[in-house]
């Protein structure tokens, strides 16, 4: 309104016009209608002003809100840091679309260099024989997998076929031979190499050298081969230099739905290879399992420590079975990796679990033992309320009712001081010697391989005395020593709830695994109801054993116990045999018996006060050591205990007892 008034002040200019205007105004004022007009104009003006003020207010508030949200003065450092980072990242992956790859193959040395960076170099003596395979990401050039298949030895070519089949199409494959790679390279493997487009691979001969670069399912990018001139000599070293064109990132990735799980999957699949269908574009295998929960789960809040080394494929298989077990609670799982290995950590991240890396200290067995100690201490630190911990290793399959088994039996560990552990593994539970998944035993040995540790036992007894790094002891052997075990026993099932599949290991080799682990019985039935769990308590178990022995039919001791006919062809009977056992540590006859029964014979396992319990031909079979066992009283006077002569001294089975 103020703007309005001064107009009368500008009289001097355009006076005539103004005056006439003024006159009209004056005239109109005198008039009723003019008054109304005036009011109307005033109203219109007022409305206009309101509109303007309003618009201004809206704009102001807008700005205020956007300021508050965006924080008008962003931190200087932050912007700079971003600015600096962006272009360098682009430089790293952007313009360069070709990798130059060098592959060298010879008798004593192989190496692979990508863009001048050595990604594989092996010139160690007596090591790394066979075909080395490297998988590169076709978009980034990153090494996704590195394997060596000793195809000089049997069955390794099968592993290679398995591996190469799992590699996703489009990946860059690099192969190179060190020393010898053809002796056990069978037709299937050769056919596979042919399908990759290799010329020399299928024709690889004794001590040939060979270097190959190709895209899986796509063109061969380079190949060199040198024939060995004679049986006693090697082919000339070959050096293959080739350019590998990179493809775009979109091509290298699958188009999975954008979910939390697939984000983890994508991260995993862009980094590593050799895990098969988990990275399949069309129908990837699930990485979340959501098994049925266990009703009344007593082990829901028991932490699970998975002890791992650098065997990521094992870890992958192990975690799959663990996460599929009924009653598992993933947030209680911690994977402890011995060393700064990336790939096992990737596997852990794929399943969304907690992973902890351990800087290696000490060597060999002592290193494993120190890793165990750190892992157990960390577990109880991370879960200070836990009274128990489940200890697993990376080379175990976990039975579907593993947690159900523990949930039903864990109270024993609380109520019975004479117990040392609960283990999922029966050392003597082979296909032909285990039968009843509902049956539990008490044994004086500690089997390990999936077991429960009481916190008080660890904190008060084991941790303070744990063997120091300079003592090169196996942790499990140490735990089995009488000073530690102090006469306590472990609960085990007749049918194991874990399966030891590891072939490559510190104390492991293929032969050993085949002989002692492959035929182990493993429970696959879900929700097994354990029978009479409270009868496993110290006194109750003695009563149970006495009852069993009283019922048992005494076998014909004149027969050879190694013969199949030693046990009659019946089902569901209980039989007892008496063997000679002079003192508590006299296991001569037992060891011979174990040997001919094809069960664990490398040391004594599974005994309870001179008694062994197993199954033969679906009959419960008890073996009592006389006279050392207190159960010797059950021996009819007429029976003479069986004695088996140990064979004359010769080379025994290879290797010491496996770390279990």
């Amino acid at each position: 309104m103020d703007d309005w008034k001064p107009s009368s002040l500008i009289k001097p200019f355009g006076a005539r016009k103004k005056r006439s205007w003024y006159l009209t105004w004056k005239y109109k004022l005198t008039n009723q209608r003019a008054l109304r007009r005036f009011c109307q104009t005033g109203a219109v003006l007022f409305l206009l002003v309101t509109v303007i003020v309003n618009i201004k207010l809206i704009l102001d508030t807008r700005r205020a809100i956007s300021e508050a949200n965006g924080d008008s003065e962003p931190e200087q450092d932050y912007d700079e840091a971003l600015g600096r980072l962006e272009p360098s990242r682009r430089r790293g992956s952007g313009p360069r679309r070709v990798l130059d790859v060098e592959v060298y193959s010879s008798r004593s040395k192989v190496y692979v260099a990508v863009d001048g960076t050595t990604v594989l170099e092996d010139e160690a003596r007596e090591q790394g024989r066979g075909i080395h395979v490297i998988v590169l990401n076709q978009a980034t050039g990153h090494v996704m997998a590195k394997r060596v298949f000793d195809t000089y030895s049997p069955h390794e070519d099968e592993a290679m076929v398995l591996f190469l089949n799992m590699v996703a199409p489009g990946r860059v494959l690099i192969c190179t031979v060190k020393d010898e790679g053809s002796f056990h390279l069978k037709d299937t493997a050769k056919a596979l190499l042919r399908s990759l487009g290799s010329q020399a691979g299928p024709a690889l001969g004794w001590r040939d050298t060979w270097a190959f670069v190709g895209r899986k399912g796509g063109p061969v990018l380079g190949e060199k081969h040198s024939k060995s001139p004679a049986l006693s000599s090697w082919g000339d070293p070959v050096l293959l230099k080739t350019d590998v064109p990179l493809s775009s990132a979109e091509e290298a990735e699958c188009h999975w739905a954008d979910t939390e799980l697939n984000r983890r999957r994508r991260r995993f699949c862009s980094k590593v290879e050799g895990y098969g269908s988990v990275c399949s574009c069309k129908d990837p295998t699930p990485i979340e399992f959501s098994p049925d929960p266990l009703p009344d789960n007593k082990v829901l809040n028991v932490p699970v420590a998975v002890i791992a080394g650098n065997r990521p494929n094992y870890l992958y298989r192990m975690l799959r079975s663990l996460l599929s077990a009924q009653g598992v609670s993933p947030q209680m799982i911690t994977v402890f990796i011995d060393g700064y290995y990336e790939e096992p950590m990737d596997v852990v991240a794929l399943f969304g679990l907690r992973g902890i890396q351990h800087t290696p200290i000490s060597i060999k067995n002592a290193r494993v033992s120190q890793h165990y100690k750190a892992s157990l201490t960390a577990t109880f630190n991370l879960f200070p309320e836990a009274r128990f911990a489940v200890v697993l290793e990376e080379d175990l399959d976990i039975a579907v009712d593993f947690f159900s088994f523990l949930s039903q039996s864990i109270h024993l560990l609380e109520e019975d001081d004479s117990l040392y552990c609960i283990s999922a593994w029966n050392d003597q539970g082979y296909e032909h010697t285990a039968e009843d998944p509902a049956l539990l035993y008490r044994v004086e040995t500690m089997p390990g391989l999936g077991w429960v540790l009481r916190k008080s036992l660890y904190k008060e007894e084991l941790e303070p005395k744990w063997p120091t790094p300079e003592k090169l002891w196996d942790w499990d052997m140490w735990m089995r020593m009488p000073e530690q075990r102090r006469g306590r026993e472990c609960i085990i099932p007749d049918v194991s709830r874990s399966y030891h599949f590891g072939i490559v290991g510190l104390n492991m080799n293929g032969y050993f695994h085949e002989a002692y682990f492959k035929k182990h019985k493993f429970n696959t039935v879900p929700g097994v109801q354990l029978r009479n769990v409270d009868s496993l308590k110290k006194e109750a178990y003695e009563a149970e054993i006495h009852r069993l022995l009283s019922e048992a039919e005494v076998l014909d001791h004149s027969k050879n116990p190694c013969e199949d006919s030693f046990l009659p062809d019946t089902e569901g009977h209980t039989y007892v045999a008496f063997i000679r056992m002079e003192k508590d540590d006299d296991f001569i006859t037992w060891t011979q018996l174990a040997k001919c029964l094809h069960i664990w014979d490398l040391d004594v396992r599974g005994n309870h006060r001179g008694l062994w319990r197993l199954f033969r031909k679906k009959n419960h079979f008890l073996v009592v050591g006389v006279p050392a066992s207190p159960y010797s009283v059950k021996k009819p006077p007429s029976i003479i205990p069986i004695f088996l002569e140990p064979p004359p001294k010769e080379e025994g089975a290879p290797g010491a007892a496996e770390q279990t």
Binding site: Q40, A43, V44, L47, L48, T50, V51, V53, N54, I55, L57, I58, T61, A64, I65, A68, N69, D71, E73, P74, E75, D77, Y78, A81, L82, E260, Q331, T334, F336, G352, R354, G355, I356, Q357, H358, T359, I361, Q370, A374, T377, A378, F380, N381, L382, F383, P384, E385, P464, T468
Partner: protein, 461 residues
């Protein structure tokens, strides 16, 4: 211009302008509440209804957590204080009958909630949902201190704090982690390089300036301002804990370096002593806690904690400090009741009080009482034979929590000053012969007890 036309225009203008007027009203309200939220205007208009940004942010957050089954509980000191004042009323109010927004609409920058981490099933999913609901979240992570004590472990980082902003209000979610010693721990909110320093006014945060330790609170569900929230069952105790919750970690790395230089004593005797000293300390801590007496690790026990994160195996006793104003006459009988008879008592409450109790396996528990002067603290010593008095001077200190032998326990926050006063600059070097009357650099002669008082001030059992 016909008149009809003019009327139409007039009507239209009136319509728009009234529409704008409505707009104006609406925006004005927003503007005010936003200003309140930012803490800019401290106007009287505090009592705004249920549409304040604070209340809406809290409501959304409560909805988010309950839909994801995340058991968060309210720890905001300001609001807990208000609830506590009005506790009876809050309890009586049934669902939805509140007419006035009394608690969550109070102007402030943050509302603090807490969560026990191991009860959090789907952290990543929660985070996504929060962002989808319009929260802007900042996550502060750090390495896990529970792995620090163990040689050479490095794990996945653990979340310490979430700060989720909605409009002008932010929810501060403090992540509590379980620690050995039956307590909850939260970490230091340390902003890393890339974080926007002005995301929220960090300085005004109630938690996170230091790491903190709390007793594990029992929870109860109440309805506040129409929202169902969990709060500590004993809000008073929790509120009391907050100002004294600062936690310091043992210096594990330095302790490892110490053991590399001086080697740990692994003999059976050393371990046996450590075990009984630990048990004695735990028993003493339990007893004093029951009495409600504040205490801290003093002398050799404190040095052991600071230097090697353990009990020094060749020390012969466990040493505790108590402020004389916290002295209670039933300390002696309480210790006797748990099987720790009084061994000797020197001084009196007014001057140089010191108590010694006989533990099992010949381990002694010494309790020194500290007296406060204007610029220092001191505790007294008495030589039984001669009646000579000594004074040990310390710079002033406050108390912090730490973890020691599986316990949450107090130590002086200014530990290094405390230890250097007592053991000098060379405290890092182990000394096996120590004369309490001569060795400490902070010992001062303090006269002699008059013989007439000896019966009272020198009591040996």
């Amino acid at each position: 211009m016909s008149r009809i036309n003019k009327n139409v225009i007039l009507a239209l203008l009136t319509l728009t302008s009234s529409a704008f007027l409505l707009f104006q009203l609406y925006y004005y309200k927003h503007y005010i509440s936003a200003k309140n939220g930012a803490g800019v205007s401290k106007s009287k208009g505090n009592r705004i209804g249920f549409d304040s940004t604070q209340w809406r942010a809290v409501k959304k957050f409560v909805m988010l957590t309950s839909s994801q089954n995340v058991p968060v509980f309210l720890i905001d000191p300001l609001i807990l204080e208000l609830i506590n004042k009005d506790f009876e009323q809050v309890k009586n109010i049934s669902h939805g009958s509140t007419s006035e927004c009394k608690f969550f609409c109070v102007p402030r920058d943050f509302t603090a909630f807490a969560l026990r981490y191991h009860l959090w099933k789907n952290e990543e999913g929660w985070f996504r949902t929060a962002e989808n609901m319009g929260f802007q979240c900042l996550k502060v992570e750090s390495k896990d201190p529970r792995l620090d004590g163990i040689d050479s472990l490095s794990g996945t980082e653990i979340p310490l704090h979430y700060i989720c902003r909605l409009a002008n209000h932010a929810i501060h979610l403090v992540v509590f982690h379980e620690r050995s010693g039956n307590y909850l721990w939260h970490g230091h909110l340390r902003l890393k390089g890339r974080v926007d320093r002005k995301f929220v006014p960090f300085r005004k945060l109630q938690f996170g300036r230091y790491p903190g330790a709390f007793d594990r609170p029992e929870l109860q569900q109440i309805t506040v301002d129409g929202l169902e929230v969990l709060i500590p069952k004993d809000p008073v105790h929790f509120l009391e804990e907050i100002p004294h919750s600062r936690f310091i970690e043992c210096r594990y790395k330095e302790a490892r370096a110490f053991f590399q230089q001086y080697l740990d004593d692994n003999t059976v005797e050393a371990m046996a002593f450590q075990k009984s000293a630990k048990e004695l300390l735990q028993l003493a801590a339990r007893t004093l806690k029951k009495l409600g007496v504040r205490f801290w690790l003093s002398s050799g026990t404190c040095l052991g904690w600071y230097r090697q994160c353990n009990i020094i195996p060749y020390s012969k006793d466990v040493d505790l400090g108590i402020f004389i104003q916290d002295y209670k006459s039933d300390i002696i009988s309480a210790f006797q009741d748990v099987g720790l008879p009084l061994k000797h008592k020197f001084g009196k409450v007014e001057d140089s009080l010191e108590l010694s109790f006989q533990g099992k396996d010949d381990v002694k528990l010494d309790i020194f009482f500290f007296y406060e002067e204007t610029d220092h603290m001191w505790n007294g010593g008495t030589q039984a034979k001669t009646g000579k008095k000594f004074k040990y001077l310390f710079p002033k200190f406050t108390l912090c929590w730490t973890e020691f032998v599986d316990m949450k326990i107090h130590v002086p926050c200014e530990t290094i000053d405390y230890i250097e006063a007592n053991y000098g600059k060379t405290w890092k070097i182990p000394v096996k012969t120590w004369d309490w009357k001569r060795s400490p650099p902070n010992v001062r002669p303090n006269g002699v007890w008059p013989i007439s008082e000896w019966d009272e001030v020198i009591q040996l059992y």
